[in-house]
Amino acid sequence: MADGKLAGTVILITGGARGLGRAMAVALAREGAQLALVDLDGEELQAAAREIEEIAGRESVVPLGADVADPDSATTAVHYAAENFGRLDVLVNNAAVGPDQITGNFYAGAPKFWELNPYVFLRMMEVNAAGPQLMAATAAPYMIRQGWGRIVNVTTALDAMYASGMGGYGPSKAALEAHTAAMANDLAGTGVTANVLIPGGPANTRMIPDSTGIPRQALIQPEAMQAPVVWLASRESDGHTGKRFIAAKWHEGLEACSGPCAWPQLGKQAILPEGVTR
């Protein structure tokens, strides 16, 4: 249990009960990390915690039923994790309301934007954009005090952010992508980094329901997230901040699988008065 690259590292993963979150949790536990798993789904959360216990032992995992969009619930989860393990090193913001909440098959016959339930759009913004901010704002002070830490935000492919048929999913991820760049900027010099990690395309999770008709093996498998998240959570990634990493291209090497967060390649755009940098 004390062996591995991540021995002594405390990691909180949201949406840790299934999908990408669970695959990442398993890989991190195998490397000796201690894990707080946050999820809304109590039953799946217990199952995920049992799986982690088998890998890393009873003392290495704490399941926390919490809603990342609820200020009381989210902040309590972060503080509990930090107090339980005595520190907090890594936050993986993975929890999200997916496009499956809009329709069973967003590739065909998906609702137009004016046909969406406004509540689902708003909930996507709350969980997928405001939730990560809430978790990160609560977790960052622990990391800054320690002089080391990681914030890993799961967004989506840049062109999926404006793909029709998924309601507020893409826009909410665009907000998180932009915010990750701002987070990295705020964290400069603290030893804490902020980066984006995405699978790189539709992944084999419940977000892509069977009703899409896509064979499960044609999707990116959640295990693709494992090697890059272990690297991001380790000392090996020191100094890498404000970047986005594409898990499906991880095997092609660091250069090939990464780029800057958001869309700075499009250059300076805003006309600002002299001396104003923001």
Binding site: M125, A157, Y162, A174, H179, W263
Partner: protein, 285 residues
């Protein structure tokens, strides 16, 4: 008629009580449109409505105190416009909570962990969800008439990820992405969705005096006037899914060159980063 290209059109402008919204309201009224001004703030609304009537004539303005994040109020506002003016053609989503809400007394703006979570969420709700709600309520009326405009005010692409502005930039990134989605969904309906931005820090209350004391050095709100009128008019038929920078809109140029200079595709579609997708699928993750 030539200088009143919006004769017979009705526009609803959110955040029309001041700043860019009021400027666009006056410009559209001067161009012949009936204009419904929507704002949270009753006091600025009545002044703005008077200015709009001065620009466009008696009876051309309708002031509606409302909230773009309230589904019932938003629906009632659209119904009130249609009841009063007999229809709705143009929606301009201008209402937003700006960076000034995060910047307080000055300095370099707060770090992300110093921000009140309720405020962060409120800004996302007003700036990203508000336009979605307003557009989803208004657009069915526009589609029914076979012609219409949705114009969303976002911000410069690099302002979306600039630090120190809290949720402002991220909320505008979401609206930018959603405008692309809107334009795709509206293809073929006669209704278009585009982005119009000033092009930099503008001389409105969003940029506090302590940040830029020399107000003349800011982009002035009047730059929004001409492109807002053009986007609202039949002259922009077929222009869909584009973003226009008002400060680059040069009336001395022939229209095609003007469009070329001030326009780009919406969002960040110029970037090569694309999802790896199973064969036969066209969108997603």
């Amino acid at each position: 008629m030539a200088d009143r290209p919006l004769e017979g059109k009705t526009a609803l402008i959110t955040g029309a009580g001041r700043g860019l919204g009021r400027e666009m309201a006056e410009a559209l009224a001067a161009a012949g449109a009936k204009v419904a001004l929507l704002d949270l703030d009753r006091d600025v609304l009545s002044d703005a409505a008077k200015a709009v009537e001065a620009a466009g004539g008696q009876g051309c303005a309708l002031a509606i105190e409302s909230d773009v994040t309230d589904r019932i109020k938003a629906t009632a506002a659209v119904e009130e416009v249609i009841g009063k003016f007999g229809g709705l053609d143009i929606l301009i989503n201008d209402a937003a909570m700006g960076p000034q809400y995060f910047q307080g007394g000055g300095g370099t703006g707060p770090k992300f962990w110093e921000i009140d979570p309720e405020l962060w969420l409120r800004v996302i709700t007003v700036n990203s969800y508000g336009p979605q709600l307003m557009a989803s309520v208004a657009v069915p009326h526009l589609i029914e008439r076979g012609w219409g405009r949705v114009i969303n005010v976002t911000t410069s692409l690099d302002t979306m990820y600039r630090r120190g502005s809290g949720a402002y930039g991220p909320s505008k990134a979401a609206l930018e992405a959603n405008t692309s989605i809107m334009s795709e969904d509206l293809e073929g309906t006669g209704v278009t969705a585009n982005v119009l931005i000033p092009g930099g820090a503008a001389n409105t209350r969003m940029i506090a005096d302590h940040i830029v004391p020399d107000r003349a050095s800011l982009v002035q709100p009047y730059v929004m006037r001409a492109p807002a009128v053009w986007l609202s008019s039949a002259a922009s038929d077929g222009i869909n899914g584009r973003r226009f920078v008002a400060a680059l809109w040069d009336e001395d140029l022939p229209i095609d060159e003007r469009i070329e200079q001030a326009g780009a595709s919406v969002a960040w579609s110029q970037l090569p980063s694309r999802a790896i997708r199973p064969a036969g699928t066209t969108a997603l993750d």
